[in-house]
């Protein structure tokens, strides 16, 4: 039986949100029940719990001396294990090396073991550490408990739940998110891509959306969150005489977001203060960051009409006035740093700058080397050029994908200045292609749209709304070493076997045509695993002779055939691909007699 509530969870890099639809409120009214946002009860100060619309994705691992005893108990749990939310963010700024933040960005970082306790990355000695999966699990568990506290009559575990992930998350990161949700006690969980969720939220708010788009339109969703930037293209097609929606492209994972922009502004003010001989300590820098964000929001608000905002850092000790540090943030500076730094006017031919390869790179998150969102967008739209098969993606004279509509999502795109610039740059490209300017689809509620859209999608899955057809957002390959005589000093050339073509639909499975692999029983067999966001015409079983730059290596996948299964020491198997109803990609080894073993992602392995 369908659950009464449909819960949508935006598990964000910097903030989480939870929205829900109450199907019992539907009644005879054919209109969909409104989607509501749950206030998430959280500690805001020691001993003070308040419900807020967003839960900061911040997790503090306090020591015994960091809070007065009993002051961080929650209404549903008296244990003082970890603190999540507003208070964690606040107190974490004062406590070095005890705050876990951006856990989600670590979840899709293939350069580290994502199940090993590595966070906080710069943990103080003796501080407990968590794995990125564990941190995500704790956020999800917290949201479950907050729901159960607020809605005791409708247990979370019996509701339908949708959790959003960036469209750019690869199969491994999706698998880890799913795993974290299951460990957090989620029973019926489905993953959904964030830009799609943002588009569902727009549909939810515009029941007459069918009048605003026509067959052949192409909708670009730009989602700039606190820590990540995500692009998606959705095509409007026709199916059995009805308008249908198809997600036709997703971008690469770009670690670049609003936090980077606020930090850039803080650095600007810090540099000005340094020139005047004022040096700031770590905590004053935190305050500066915070105040710069507030000042930026004021300056970017078209109704405020001010040209500069004071940024004040009060004296640290009780000498508040005596130690005050004054600085100013000018509207012109904000415009310059944001627009020229992050949204420069570039041509659609420009590529994001690549990072210089440094032999010894400091470990940490692989932030985008080029902060220019517009260059990343140009690359994304141009990537679509090489695909001739997808007629649904409309393209201009040079092959650039030419969207007809744009939907913005994420806090950064609140600012009209930023929206206007991004739209102007896009339209300059479209003009060069001879295409009409793109129209803006006005979204509302940019902070909660993803959670709202996820709840709407839950209803759509029950046949109560339109669904975007998407399938697997990338093409996946396993590596096969060619059987050539080895050349000393050179690795054997690698070929890639297509195991999941782009767009393979949820709830389908297919045997991969091609070679049989001989697996030794009782020993782990490992396959190298690759994906590509731009190669969309490789069919199932196609063998790619040259693995180029457009194919990216992921964590390897492995399987161990139990020795007790009988048969010879070498079992010939073929591969089978399954995309579950909930959108999870699985690879299976199938023996000739029909026995099957699932291939697991080996996230413990590091990729060179």
């Amino acid at each position: 039986m369908d659950s009464r509530f449909v819960i949508g969870i935006d598990l964000g890099t910097t903030n989480c949100a939870l929205a829900y639809a109450d199907t019992a409120a539907m009644g005879a009214d054919p209109a969909l029940p409104p989607v509501s946002v749950l206030g998430i009860a959280q500690l805001v100060h020691p001993g003070e719990v308040r419900a807020e619309p967003l839960l900061p994705s911040a997790l503090l691992l306090p020591g015994p001396a960091d809070f007065p005893a009993g002051s961080v108990a929650l209404p549903w749990d008296g244990a003082d294990g970890q603190v999540i939310g507003r208070l964690a963010l606040r107190r974490g700024a004062e406590l070095a090396g005890k705050l876990v933040s951006s856990a989600k960005s670590w979840l899709c970082h293939a350069g580290v073991d994502r199940t090993a306790p590595i966070l906080p990355w710069t943990a103080a000695p003796g501080v407990r550490r968590l794995s990125p999966v564990e941190a995500s699990r704790l956020y999800l568990e917290y949201l479950r408990q907050a729901w159960d506290h607020a809605m005791p009559e409708a247990p979370f575990a019996s509701q339908q739940v949708l959790v959003t992930v960036p469209a750019s998350f690869d199969a491994v990161a999706r698998d880890l998110t799913q795993r974290a949700a299951e460990q957090a006690g989620y029973r019926q969980v489905t993953l959904l891509e964030e830009p799609q969720a943002a588009f569902y939220a727009w549909i939810e708010r515009h029941p007459g959306w069918r009048e605003r788009v026509t067959v052949g339109d192409l909708i670009l969703v730009v989602d700039i969150g606190g820590g990540t930037t995500d692009f998606t293209l959705i095509a409007v097609t026709e199916r059995a005489g009805e308008l249908a929606l198809e997600r036709v492209a997703v971008g690469d994972h770009i670690l670049l977001g609003g936090d980077n922009m606020d930090l850039a502004l803080a650095r600007l003010v810090e540099a000005e203060l340094a020139q005047a001989g004022r040096k700031l300590d770590a905590m004053q820098l935190q305050a500066l960051w915070h105040n710069c964000r507030a000042a930026k929001e004021k300056l970017l608000d078209p109704e405020s009409g001010v040209d500069e905002e004071p940024v004040t850092i009060l004296g640290r000790g009780s000498g508040l006035v005596g130690g005050v540090i004054k600085a100013k943030l000018k509207r012109a500076d904000v415009g310059r740093v944001l627009l020229d730094g992050f949204f420069p006017e570039v041509s659609s031919q420009e590529e994001p700058r690549r990072a210089r390869r440094v032999a010894l790179q400091e470990m940490g998150l692989p932030y985008a080397a080029d902060p220019a969102v517009t260059r990343h967008l140009a690359r994304f739209l141009r990537q679509q050029a090489s695909q001739a098969e997808h007629g649904a993606v409309r393209r201009g004279a040079s092959g650039l994908a030419t969207p007809t509509h744009v939907l913005f999502n994420g806090g950064v795109l609140h600012a009209p200045l930023v929206r206007e610039r991004l739209l102007a740059v896009l339209n300059s490209w479209l003009a060069a292609e001879g295409a009409a300017p793109a129209r803006l689809l006005e979204g509302e509620d940019l902070m909660q749209a993803v959670a709202r859209g996820a709840a709407y999608y839950g209803l759509a899955r029950r046949g109560k709304g339109v669904r975007i057809r998407g399938g697997v957002p990338r093409t996946y390959y396993v590596g096969i070493e060619s059987a050539l005589p080895a050349v000393p000093g050179l690795p054997n050339p690698l070929k890639a076997l297509t195991v999941a073509p782009f767009g393979m639909e949820e709830g389908t499975q297919a045997r991969v045509p091609g070679p049989e692999f001989g697996l030794t029983v009782g020993e782990p067999a490992e396959f190298r695993f690759f994906s590509s966001a731009s190669r969309k015409n490789d069919e199932l079983g196609a063998l790619i002779e040259e693995v180029g730059d457009d194919i990216e290596e992921l964590s390897p996948i492995e399987v161990t055939l139990p020795a007790s299964e009988g048969g010879g020491p070498l079992t010939p198997v073929t591969l089978e691909t399954v995309v579950t109803e909930t959108g999870v990609l699985q690879l299976w080894c199938v023996a000739r007699d029909g026995r099957r073993w699932k291939l697991e992602f080996n996230v413990r392995e590091r990729i060179g």
């Binding site: 719990v49 007065p68 002051s71």
Partner: protein, 171 residues
């Protein structure tokens, strides 16, 4: 004088003199027993607790006590102004969050206002006041009324006498 009136009166008296006013002491049936002995810890927050808690909040969120206790005579208006903007904004946010305030008389200052239907304890008559309450007068100050106080619950071990904890940085 309701609980809020008591709390606010206590608040300002403590702020100015460091002690509860006689009026509050009498009304609550308290006795002054020397500085060392505070009122016994009550299960429910009394006015002194409420006042200290409010002070603690204003210090925590806006650093009001730091500001009021600092000798600002030596600093330029410019410097004081920069600090005040920050303290003022955060005090206001904290006040709005925990206390709901509304004018006693929601009228336009400087205009004639009828007194009918308004409790006299909420109005201060000034100027040429006759022996009998007049029908009305010119509104000079709209007054403030605490509509609701929504302070967070206190833990059993909360030490309210610490308005702001000392900070020690471990380097």
């Amino acid at each position: 004088m309701g609980r809020l009136g008591l709390a606010i009166k206590s608040f300002w008296a403590i702020l100015r003199t460091g002690a509860l006013p006689d009026e509050v002491v009498q009304r609550l049936g308290l006795a002054r027993r020397g500085p060392a002995k505070a009122a016994p810890a009550a299960a429910q927050a009394g006015p002194a607790e409420g006042a200290l808690q409010m002070l603690g909040i204003l210090q925590r969120d806006a650093r009001l006590i730091d500001f009021l206790m600092e000798d600002i005579a030596a600093y330029s208006d410019d410097q004081v102004g920069a600090a005040v903007r920050s303290v003022h904004q955060q005090c206001r946010e904290a006040l709005n969050r925990y206390v709901q305030l509304a004018p006693v008389i929601d009228g336009v200052e400087g205009t004639f206002t009828k007194l009918a239907g308004i409790e006299l304890t909420a109005v201060k008559l000034v100027g040429n006041v006759p022996p009998q309450p007049p029908p009305g007068g010119v509104l000079r100050h709209r007054g403030w009324r605490g509509v609701k106080v929504d302070l967070p619950p206190l833990g059993a071990k909360t030490n309210l006498s610490v308005v702001a904890p000392a900070e020690i940085e471990i380097e």
